[in-house]
């Protein structure tokens, strides 16, 4: 155990600057769209990850999309109940989001192309501080 780890165990404290800094990213889903190549990058960036252009405009991620790929994890780390369904979602209108599905009764229902929507949920507990963000829920077909 490093000194840092020992100290952290003795006096748990949330890494609050990180949460504060990430507020626009986490709660407002702010990303960027490249004015030159159209690439959508999330979280926000001043330089396009794809083409290197400095011309970036704010882009708010849509909350609905389709599963691009997924897996069913039977060995998640402590704090998460197995199985978790990890997804990468193609958002409607552009952009991708990596996340977890929630409220899935039967993981076998999940397929590539399944429609999902973001819902606001408790995501993690870090050193006693509950932290909220978006997870995905299956869209009920009308």
């Amino acid at each position: 155990m490093t000194m840092w780890e020992r100290e952290r165990m003795q006096s748990p404290r949330p890494a609050s600057p990180l949460y504060w800094r990430l507020a626009p990213t986490v709660y407002h889903l702010l990303g960027s769209k490249c004015s030159d190549c159209g690439q959508i990058t999330y979280p926000q960036t001043k330089i396009c990850h794809k083409c290197g252009s400095f011309n970036q405009k704010d882009y708010q991620l849509p909350k609905t999309g389709k599963v691009h790929t997924f897996c069913i994890n039977w060995t998640p780390p402590p704090g998460l109940e197995p199985p978790t369904v990890n997804v990468i979602v193609d958002l409607d209108g552009g952009g991708r989001y990596v996340g977890l599905l929630t409220e899935v009764a039967n993981p076998d229902e999940v397929k590539i192309g399944t429609k999902v929507q973001m819902v606001f949920r408790r995501v993690v507990n870090d050193s006693g501080l509950d932290f909220y963000g978006y997870k995905f829920r299956l869209v009920e077909e009308a």
């Binding site: 949460y19 990213t25 979280p43 897996c71 998640p76 780390p77 402590p78 704090g79 990890n86 977890l100």
Partner: protein, 402 residues
């Protein structure tokens, strides 16, 4: 500018990989290095080493120690007074450390250079060690993205590819299992492998699901190990050995770092970039390669890598595997004749150098006869891909002739 033929490998050393609870990082480093020095046929004076690169991925975090700088080698190997840098570049650390050592010689700055990688992966109990290995895989540290690494370790990252490979390329879990069957078969005869047993497709598919679609036996084990190589100016090599092996091409490729930026999940552009540059430097094509050690941290990864390196077209690796194409005995570019990460385990920084050691012995025909691959052009390739979005890859191509 090509550096083909300017640098030679004169010796390699590695220790049998495994759960080496009785050995510390320092013990493993010393053992691998001493084996390497002693193996150099015409004798070698360690004072000839003028610089070293030390590969270390976990940085001491997994053994409860502070960061491990280059000074680790200065003390442990008695190499005070020479420049030693530590390098960490994800799973390609081993092949990238070798590349840096080669560039050190090719630049003309040093005549003889040591590249060494070592990793203690097993000291912490199972879950803790896996979390440490997956970065902040436990969730709770957000880093860049609100759900980045939330419940994601190596198996999740690769399973996200594996699902898409099945969907888009038509491969199946049976195809993934066949990679394990092949590599474990090869590993049985390799004295350096951790898990030396045969498996069948049924056994792989009946092993516990770790992260669907990947089973336990689709995953490489987490393992302790150390490996090294000594390289020198090609024109000095015969002073140390009559059978030097030459560096033909060396490259590192980088793609988007993170999973959500990826264009697709059936290929890894990092590997394609590294392969493009390494083959161009060597002036050869994938067909010229006699054997390759290819990163098989998970079974689906090997199939993807074989395609991305250029040994076959996208979507064909699993079909050719079914025909027996990549087998050690087959003659069509054997992949992971050593048994690969599947049977050796994956002590990150040591892995790439162990691959280079296998290729060195294969090309010199200094190997157990049952393991010897048929040589045609006398060229071998080693490859790693990794980083937490599989955005980094390193490739080294070596050969019997400069």
């Amino acid at each position: 500018m090509s550096i083909r033929g300017k640098v030679a490998i004169i010796g390699v050393g590695l220790i049998p990989f495994g759960e080496l609870f009785h050995k510390g990082l320092e013990n493993m480093i010393q053992e691998a290095y001493m084996k390497c020095v002693k193996s150099i046929d015409k004798g070698f004076d360690p004072k000839d080493i003028k610089a070293a690169w030390f590969g270390q991925w976990s940085g001491g975090g997994m053994i409860g120690q502070g960061s491990r700088e280059g000074t680790t080698l200065a003390s442990v190997l008695g190499l005070r007074g020479i420049p030693i840098s530590r390098l960490e570049n994800g799973c390609p650390t081993g092949n990238d450390v070798f590349r840096n050592a080669v560039l050190g010689v090719a630049s003309g700055a040093y005549d003889v250079v040591l590249a060494l990688g070592a990793e203690k992966m097993r000291d912490k109990p199972g879950v803790e060690s896996l979390i440490a290995a997956g970065g902040a895989a436990g969730g709770g540290i957000l880093g860049l993205h609100p759900s980045w690494m939330l419940g994601m370790g190596g198996p999740v990252l690769q399973a996200l590819y594996a699902t898409r490979q099945m969907h888009q390329l038509g491969c199946t879990m049976e195809d993934y299992a066949r990679v394990a069957v092949k590599n474990h078969h090869n590993g049985v005869a390799c004295p350096y492998a951790e898990y030396r047993f045969e498996v069948t497709v049924e056994r792989v598919l009946n092993s516990p699901v770790i992260c669907w679609p990947l089973h336990l036996l689709d995953c490489c084990p987490q393992t302790d190990g150390a490996a090294c190589a000594i390289v020198c100016r090609a024109d000095l090599a015969k002073k140390y050995t009559d059978k030097p092996i030459y560096v033909l091409g060396t490259a590192t490729g980088n793609d988007f770092k993170d999973m959500w930026d990826k264009e697709n999940f059936i290929e890894m552009p990092a590997t394609k970039f590294a392969a493009r540059d390494a083959f161009a430097m060597a002036g050869i094509k994938p067909d010229d390669v006699d054997l390759a050690e290819v990163h098989d941290c998970f079974t689906n990864t090997e199939l993807m890598n074989v395609e991305d390196i250029g040994f076959c077209k996208k979507g064909e690796a699993h079909k050719l595997l079914k025909e027996g194409y990549w087998a050690r005995e087959d003659g069509h570019t054997p992949i992971n004749a050593s048994g690969g990460l599947k049977s050796h385990g994956h002590p990150i920084a040591a892995t790439g150098l162990a691959q280079i050691a296998e290729n060195f012995w294969q090309l010199r025909q200094d190997i157990e006869p049952v393991r010897q691959v048929k040589l045609k052009k006398g060229i071998a390739l080693s490859h790693n891909v990794g980083g937490n979005g599989f955005g980094a890859s390193s490739i080294n191509i070596i050969g019997r002739e400069p």
